[in-house]
C-alpha cells in the first residue's frame, strides 16, 4: 500500500474556472477518494423570489449564470407560462430557440478554449475564443447585451429579429463553420490531446445511467438523453431533433460530443431561420400566478435543467427551484475521480464542464 495523503484541490486552481473544492485522498499518485464541497458562490437566488415580482424575477433567473443565462430566463419564463396557462406566439418560440442555440455555441466554444488552455494549447485557446467573439457580436447585435441577453420575458420575447437580419446571421454562421472545422480538427486529431484524454475518466453506459448523468456527459457514454427531444417549447419538435452521441464515455468522447454539438446548433439556427413564422413576439400577461405549482425543463449547454415554480395568487412566488446540470453531474465526477491519476484530475473535472455558479444559485 502506498503512502496516503490528502491534497486540497480548488476552489482556486489554475485550470478551474469556477470555485469547487475537493479533498483528494491519494495513495501515491492515485486518487482513492474525492470529497466535494461547494458554497463559495451561494447567493440564495431561489430565496430572492419571495422578494421580487414574478415578472421582475426573470432578470434574476438570467443572472444565475453568465454562460447559460438565456436558458435560465427561458426556463423560468416557461415555468410561469405553464403555471398561468399562457400560450406564447410561435415566432417567440422560434426566436427563443435561436438565442438558446447561440448560447450553446457561446458556452461550448468558451469551454473548448478553457479545455485547450488546460491541455497546454494556448494558441488553440485563443482561436476558440476568437471564434466565440463572432457569436458574442451576434448576441450584442440582436439583444444589446453580450452576456446577459434580457430578451426573454413571461409571455414571449422583448425583441424581434427582422428576417433580413436573420439571413445575414446565417451567412456569418456559415462562414464560422469553416473556422470551427479548424479548431475541431486539432481537438479530434492531435496526438497529444488523444494521449491526455483517451481512456481517461471513462464512464460506461450503465454507469452513466446509474449515476444520473445529464447533458454531453451522459451523451458521451451513449445515453440518448437530451430534453430537446421531449421539449414542448421551442422549435425542436417541429424541426426534428436527434442527439449527438458517442460511446467511448471517456474525456475525449465528452470533447467530441461538444464539438459536434456546435455543428448541430448551427443547423438548428439555420432551420429556425428558414421556417421562421410571422406574427407577434409576445402576449400580454394579466393577473398573478395562481395557487398552484409547475415543473418544466430546458436542455442547457451542460445538460438538463429543471425549473419549479409555486404561486400563491400574489405577485411574489412562494418557491422557485432550479436543479442545474452541474448539480446532477457531481456524483459522476466523484466516481470518475476515484482511481484516476492526480495529473488527470483537472481534465476529468473540466470535461463535465462544471458551472458552480449555476450549481449553487
Amino acid at each position: 500500500m502506498g503512502k496516503s495523503t490528502v491534497v486540497p484541490f480548488g476552489p482556486q486552481h489554475p485550470v478551474l474556472p469556477e470555485p469547487i473544492h475537493f479533498d483528494l485522498e491519494l495513495e501515491d499518485e492515485k486518487v482513492v477518494k474525492a470529497i466535494p464541497s461547494i458554497g463559495y458562490v451561494h447567493r440564495g437566488l431561489e430565496k430572492l423570489v419571495e422578494k421580487r415580482g414574478f415578472q421582475e424575477y426573470v432578470y434574476v433567473a438570467e443572472r444565475v449564470c453568465g454562460i447559460c443565462s438565456f436558458g435560465h430566463g427561458w426556463g423560468y419564463s416557461k415555468a410561469i407560462e405553464g403555471l398561468m396557462e399562457i400560450e406564447i406566439p410561435k415566432r417567440a418560440e422560434y426566436l427563443r430557440t435561436i438565442w438558446h442555440e447561440i448560447s450553446r455555441l457561446h458556452s461550448h466554444l468558451l469551454w473548448a478554449g478553457l479545455g485547450a488552455d488546460a491541455l497546454g494549447f494556448e494558441s488553440l485557446f485563443m482561436q476558440c475564443w476568437r471564434i466565440r467573439e463572432t457569436i458574442l457580436d451576434i448576441i450584442e447585435q440582436t439583444t444589446g447585451g453580450r452576456v446577459i441577453f434580457s430578451v426573454c420575458k413571461v409571455g414571449g420575447v422583448r425583441r424581434d429579429i427582422p428576417d433580413q437580419e436573420l439571413k445575414e446571421i446565417v451567412k456569418r454562421l456559415d462562414a464560422l463553420k469553416k473556422e470551427i472545422d479548424g479548431v475541431a480538427d486539432i481537438f479530434l486529431n492531435d496526438e497529444t490531446i488523444h494521449a491526455r484524454l483517451k481512456g481517461v475518466g471513462t464512464v460506461t453506459y450503465d454507469e452513466a445511467v446509474a449515476l444520473g448523468c445529464v447533458g454531453p456527459t451522459a451523451r458521451a457514454s451513449g445515453v440518448p438523453q437530451d430534453y430537446r427531444i421531449g421539449d414542448e417549447g421551442g422549435a425542436y419538435k417541429e424541426l426534428g431533433f436527434t442527439p449527438v452521441l458517442a460511446t467511448e464515455g471517456d474525456c475525449f468522447a465528452r470533447v467530441k460530443v461538444r464539438l459536434l454539438e456546435l455543428y448541430q446548433s448551427l443547423d438548428i439556427i439555420k432551420g429556425c431561420v428558414e421556417n421562421m413564422p410571422a406574427g407577434d413576439i409576445a402576449v400580454p400577461v394579466k393577473g398573478f400566478p395562481p395557487a398552484a405549482e409547475y415543473f418544466t425543463r430546458v436542455e442547457q449547454p451542460r445538460g438538463e435543467a429543471v425549473y419549479y415554480v409555486k404561486g400563491n395568487k400574489t405577485k411574489n412566488l412562494e418557491r422557485f427551484r432550479l436543479r442545474t446540470p452541474t448539480n446532477a453531474n457531481i456524483p459522476v465526477l466523484v466516481k470518475m475521480l476515484q482511481g484516476c491519476d492526480l495529473a488527470d484530475v483537472p481534465n476529468i473535472i473540466l470535461t463535465i464542464d462544471p458551472c458552480i455558479s449555476c450549481c449553487e444559485r
Binding site: 461547494i38 458554497g39 415543473f295 456524483p331
Partner: protein
Amino acid sequence: MKQIFIQTAAADLLGKAAQYKKDGYRMVQILCTRVPEGYELTYSFDKDYVMENLRVVVPLEGSVMSVTSQYWYAFVWENEIHDLFGLNVEFIAPEVDYGGKFFHLAKPMPWHELANAKQPAAAVKVNLRPGLGVDAAVKPAAKPAAPAAKPAEGGN
C-alpha cells in the same frame, strides 16, 4: 408539460423509490420547501421525458430516510437539503454523507425559516483590529438618540 404529483407517506418513500428504479425511471431531483407543517419534499422521477413527482411532508422535528440505497446520486440533493434547510436525512450512504460540510455557508441552515417569516435582528459581526478593547460582536445600531437639547442662546 404534464404535471403528476403523488402524495405519499414518509414511511412508504423508500418502497416507492425502489419501484420507480425497478420500472426504469431516472431520478431527476429532490425539492424541499418549508411549509407551516414542516418540510414538503418532492422527489421527481423521469421516464421517456414524462416526470412523476412523489410528495412527502415531514414534520419540523422529524427526519426522512435517504433514498441513496436506490438512487446513489441523490446524495447531492440530500446533503444540500440538510445544509440549507436543516432537515435530518437518515442513512445517506456513508461514503457520501458529508455531515453538514457539503455547502460552505456563512450562516447555518439559511432556509430553515418559513418564507416571509419575520426574522429576529441578527448580531452584526464587526472585525476590529486587536487591542481596541471593544467587543467584536455588537448588536445592530439602536435608533439614533434624540439630539441633545440646544444650549440656550444668548449665553457667553
